[in-house]
Subunit: 670 residues, 2 copies
């Protein structure tokens, strides 16, 4: 596949970087994206998106007010779903994500939750009659639905949601009610202004008895006028960090009545006489959550890759400081401190991206098994996707900020794209399972596993098998050039075992010291999170290695190897507490790890631009003046600034109203 | 001083927290702010600000468009400077900062640089005649000036700024010119729309010879019409992360002529015949920079304190999760993971705030000495303020994000105040000296010091004396309860020596391995930054201890001690690589450090709300719905959301234009 990013008129420095690269960007891009065919499709989708007039923004969205942005997004999402047939909808992980990000950018829209939550919940919770009625309405876009679970005062612990649905046998209706301010539904995407339906989890009350949380499908607005229905108060929750184009909303019910058949009845039923039929078995409802978390890992990895691409390209054209008087200023990419800020993030992008594929494959496998009633791998997927989600979102958020800060003042401008990338990505630390909660779930699994190992009753999941391996007493690490991956993985596993077993012992000790099980868990919880993190790190490292072992091109392999080593040494250095435990790694070895990092940075430097080119970001997808393919940053920034709303007039009214009179008065006093 | 934060109608949980505190908030507040009189003045200033009608915002600023915000800020800054006599203007560190933040919030305004840079530069650079002419104009607010140094393509390395000022002997004028796009002046606060004057550093060219960078005072806009003058292109640079109310600007000169006397001539002169008189000695121009960096440390510490206050108050009223069925949900402040996220930031706020006082005192001392021509402590102040600035801004930025993330979903809403606090504070990592550049300056000093020690020629600055102390081989740390501060400081010093000396050796080794001095410096630069960081940490710890030793109230001392220990143990854990070097601290000791952290967290928990109350933030200064004194968060969030521009109409035009027709079409297909 021909792949040439050099064009006449490009910035000279960035062209020289590309000319000097040691490998074929086309081959690397194909490897990253899973083959030439996938890459071809990426380009086809880009071309299609660029050819459609109604996918274009009239001005860069960062200059729009919230209202303009919501309007623009509504326009585009209708156009996008009109033309959804262009992409392979069975491939939401890649084609779906790309299509949406090329059109909608880093923002949500009126129908984000319609597709991510409303339709899947109907599919999962409605009985057959309900399915026949609601699914076509939703799929044809006859209604817009959202999913309103979170309340002002309630998030993670859904069993304490306050909204009630009280059955009225006389009218065969449920009465939805918001009993307190803290019960106000809050946050749901598209709830404020766009949706006319929502799925509402609420406490089901029959004859004064609380039957627990159930799901109701509720009309919110009139189909013709779009006015909120009587008994419904609804609105936008105000500006947030990021996603300005989405009307995240609030919702208050005032004894609002819905028909009995609007409770989803696939698993439990309420009969017309008020009889309640409980679900046969408490169902494993991992499905939607696991899917969203799995897809998040890829999306997050791509956001970090975008940040790294911007930072590296900009660092190649930005010159600052002199090493020798008389010479040109230094490209800031030549500073080791700059490399140290950015290149480990580059390595993480690769590792996370490849790990995302692993999670996706596991998801596909589990999905297939589930359709045959096999739940064998479900827990493994749940643990992995939770842990990955927590580790990846946090590292991505930190990494994006590092890349942004590495671009100096320009990193603060919305022209850079960074403020948007950061606010879009960092939210991933919180939604779909708050990270600390996720890590503690993984830890719960790990502690249970250790306990089983101690009692010899362990039937270990694949991902935990290394916990049984014999303890290594001394790392064999000497130099980065000669170390075998196998040994590095052994080091990671030992560090994880160090942390996991010592945390287990700490828990035991706390209980011996008269703490209850809950207290002990709470006291040890910071250590538990560290244990989970190291466990996930092991898996990351292994999945990266398994992926790069499939590479048969020496020029690509060389780069992937440098990236892998950089990643692993950097993680050792970042988690040195675990690698130094029981002197597993010595002072000397830690020094060698650090020198190794600095040397690898130097080795990767000449190929840095070519490596990020291989992520195959178009200027459209990247949406960053600093990260432009052509490197002509400064002229483009000046052009960009002209859109500023303050530049519509030469003289603002501030002069006439305040500053002018003040200055005239001041001058009159002299 | 009576100090009672409990009022009827407050949230019950927050009231219980206040009732249960072990110490007097009034006493702690007085200690933090430097005495009862200072505290009284804080309250007096607050009362004054609240009493002035023209200091009030018509709606919360976060709901304003950029244009509305710029307008609102211009109105308020004129009102504020009209009434500046209310505060003690010799006390910019405390009264000035408070007054401004109560009125302007976390934003800059039309005259930020007028006061921070324009006037000080006139004072420092103008000769006597120029002073007589320009200073009254500026001080009476007869003109608004800014300082336009940074160019699109040039920041830190000011010697390479491109803007030229070419002397034309015939007309006795300088011709200012922007020779390329990258020479466009960029970023200056108030430059885009507000200022009619600017000080411009430009390359002085006489008869084709470049005499280097000189400063020129330049009129940009017509005094009466405020239109840009011919030859000047000027505008706003567009939206940034943070400070939306400031018109950071760009500026292009097209052979723009100014009179000869507009070059500041205090140190060098250009005579009418073009003769250039060089400055007698290259002057130490630390003044303005050092002042701004010193004041920044305090401002940044207060931003972190604000974030911590919000997070702790919210964590006391937010309940989530159950430890025992049937009981109320748990206050999230009871989770150790939550304490671990927030309380170390609380400790840092104290340490940074007290360190800020130390820097301020040193600044005052140096200033006094300088007026007598004594420059003895100037370098020390320069090193300290650079290093502090770098360490504090970075830790503050990280800390604010930790506090924000600890508040879950609500931390993303602008109602929390966090998005604004973060974007306002994190910019400190970049402006007034990019952090990595600052750390490398400190490192330069440290490496020079080590070299002098090795050659026995060291005349050591006070802050570096510990480098000469005998090496400690083993930390004596056993338990946090019994360890003496003196020994902890010894540990910090040894860790700093470990890192500083090993970095020095690494530099030597690199040079032996045939790297030039510049190459070696670059290769070692990451380690050099770590050395600087540890050096500053030592000083922080010592300045905290010296401050708390002045506390004579046992109930306050107890808390300050817990905070100090938490800070120090947390830093040991965060920099464990340096404390474990040469096995200075053993496995067992590191474990004890970590357990110590967790135990102190539990000890501080019951007083957490009272401690942050002692920062004495009014609701006005804090500007956060989550952090409200009364703890009635949820109702206030709902009220706040009603300002959203999307809530001005029940039905947005998106329904008529896009979503309505789409849905109608969809329903027609069923």
């Amino acid at each position: 596949m021909r792949y040439n990013l050099i064009e006449p008129g490009d910035n000279e420095d960035i062209t020289n970087e590309r000319r000097g690269s040691s490998f074929s960007v086309g081959k690397m891009a194909a490897f990253i994206h899973g083959g030439e065919e996938k890459l071809r499709r990426r380009h086809e989708i880009l071309k299609f998106v660029e050819s459609q007039k109604d996918f274009q923004d009239p001005i860069p969205p960062e200059f729009m007010s919230r209202k303009e942005r919501v309007e623009n997004n509504a326009r585009k999402i209708v156009a996008m779903t009109d033309k959804i047939a262009f992409i392979d909808q069975s491939d939401m992980f890649e084609e779906g994500l790309l299509f949406q990000s090329l059109i909608m950018g880093r923002d949500f829209h009126a129908m984000s939750l319609h597709y991510a939550m409303f339709i899947p919940t109907i599919q999962g919770q409605a009985d057959d009659d309900q399915l026949d009625y609601w699914l076509p309405l939703a799929v044809t876009r006859g209604i817009i639905g959202t999913y309103a679970q979170t309340e002002l005062g309630h998030g993670t612990n859904i069993s304490k949601l306050e909204t009630t649905a009280t059955y009225d046998e006389k009218t065969e209706e449920f009465v939805l009610h918001t009993p307190s301010v803290s019960a106000t539904k809050w946050w749901s995407g598209g709830l404020g202004k766009s949706s006319n339906y929502a799925i509402i989890p609420a406490q089901l009350i029959i004859n004064g008895n609380n039957k627990g949380l159930h799901m109701f499908i509720v009309q919110l607005r009139d189909l013709d006028t779009h006015m909120p229905l009587p008994g419904i108060t609804i609105g936008d929750i105000g500006p947030k960090m990021g996603i300005p184009g989405n009307d995240n909303g609030f919702l208050i019910f005032n004894n609002y009545r819905i028909p009995r058949k609007n409770m989803f009845m696939r698993y439990s039923q309420v009969l017309s006489n008020g009889e309640y039929i409980a679900p046969k078995h408490s169902k494993l409802r991992y499905g939607t959550m696991v899917f969203v978390r799995s897809i998040m890992v890829r999306d997050q990895a791509m956001q970090l890759a975008a940040a790294v691409t911007i930072a590296i390209r900009y660092s190649s054209i930005r010159r600052q400081g002199e090493w020798k008087p008389g010479l040109k200023e230094v490209q800031i990419l030549d500073y080791r401190t700059q490399q140290y800020r950015i290149l480990p993030c580059l390595a993480q992008s690769f590792v996370f991206l490849f790990a995302a594929t692993e999670v996706k494959n596991l998801y596909m496998k589990v999905n297939k098994q589930l359709s045959h009633g096999i739940t064998e791998l479900l827990q493994e997927l749940h643990i992995l996707s939770s842990g990955f989600k927590a580790v990846v979102t946090w590292e991505v958020a930190k990494g994006i900020e590092q890349c942004r800060l590495a671009c100096g003042g320009h990193g603060y401008s919305h022209a850079s794209g960074f403020p948007e990338i950061y606010s879009f990505a960092v939210a991933g630390c919180t939604y779909e399972g708050e990270n600390i909660v996720m890590l503690l779930q993984v830890a719960r699994f790990l502690m249970k596993t250790v306990k089983e190992i101690h009692s010899n009753s362990a039937h270990l999941a694949t991902i935990a098998k290394y916990l049984l391996d014999a303890r290594r007493y001394k790392s064999s690490f000497q130099r980065w050039q000669t170390v075998e991956y196998e040994d590095l993985v052994g080091d990671f596993e030992q560090a994880a075992r160090n942390q996991i077993y010592s945390t287990y012992n700490y828990l035991q000790q706390l209980q011996k010291d008269n703490h209850s099980a809950e207290e002990a868990w709470n006291c040890a919880s910071v250590e538990l999170c560290k244990a989970s993190r190291l466990h996930i790190l092991c898996f990351m490292a292994k999945s990266y290695l398994s992926r790069i072992s499939q590479c048969s091109e020496p020029e690509i392999s060389r780069i992937l190897n440098l990236i892998g080593k950089l990643y692993m040494l950097h993680e050792i250095s970042a988690h040195c507490y675990a690698f130094r435990m029981a002197n597993y790694m010595s002072d000397e070895q830690m020094r060698s790890v650090k020198c190794g990092i600095y040397e690898i940075l130097g080795n990767l430097r000449p190929d840095a631009v070519a490596i990020v080119d291989s992520f195959d970001f178009s200027d459209r997808e990247l949406h960053s003046v600093l990260g432009r393919r052509d490197g002509n940053v400064y002229a483009a920034m000046l052009e960009w600034a002209k859109y500023s709303e303050l530049n519509k007039t030469e003289v603002l009214s501030t002069f006439k109203n305040y500053l002018g009179p003040m200055m005239e008065d001041g001058r009159s006093k002299i």
